[in-house]
Symmetry: C2
Subunit: 105 residues, 2 copies
């Protein structure tokens, strides 16, 4: 079982659970053999209002890499772009088919 | 942020991703302040065919406790029962309202 891990941290007060669940489902569908787990992490109400962050830990020995941060990148990721960023860390040789062609266009 | 963690391991070949996502959403909605994260873990195709397992790790120092295992418990958990089992480990004093009354009936 791969030991890479994706963590999606989302603002509870902003009601972004369903959005976070959707991204998790898309990543799990695309990387079902390449990712060990996708974790959904509710941001405590006061601490991180407005947070929407996706981090990838390629293996237990690697530090988490933030591939999306709403406050840094603005808004929410296009799913194809998010998949490319995750793929580049967990399975660099993996083709994403149309998601790759869209990026090259 | 609480450091308890719930892990839902599901059989990929059985197409139980959506079902696992649904349980994760229900647990995150009920325990948004009591659980640190809910992780979805795709079971590698060959290794664990037919697996549907929910484990709770109350803190980093605790061993994971299996609160549901399809092969042991048969089928899939009633959501209110699953919430009671998770609550008993992560927030024993927390009331689940109607979910508790249903259990007492």
């Amino acid at each position: 079982m791969p030991d890479s891990r994706v963590v999606i941290t989302y603002c509870v007060r902003c009601r972004w659970l369903l959005r976070a669940q959707w991204y998790a489902g898309e990543l799990l569908q695309t990387f079902e053999s390449e990712v060990g787990e996708v974790a959904l992490r509710p941001a405590a109400k006061d601490l991180e209002a407005g947070v929407f962050r996706v981090q990838v830990q390629a293996s237990d020995d690697d530090a988490p890499v933030t591939v999306w941060n709403r406050k840094r990148d603005g808004g929410f990721p296009d799913i194809a772009e998010l998949k490319r960023r995750v793929r580049d860390l967990v399975a660099p040789e993996m083709s994403l088919g149309h998601a790759d062609r869209a990026a090259e266009a």
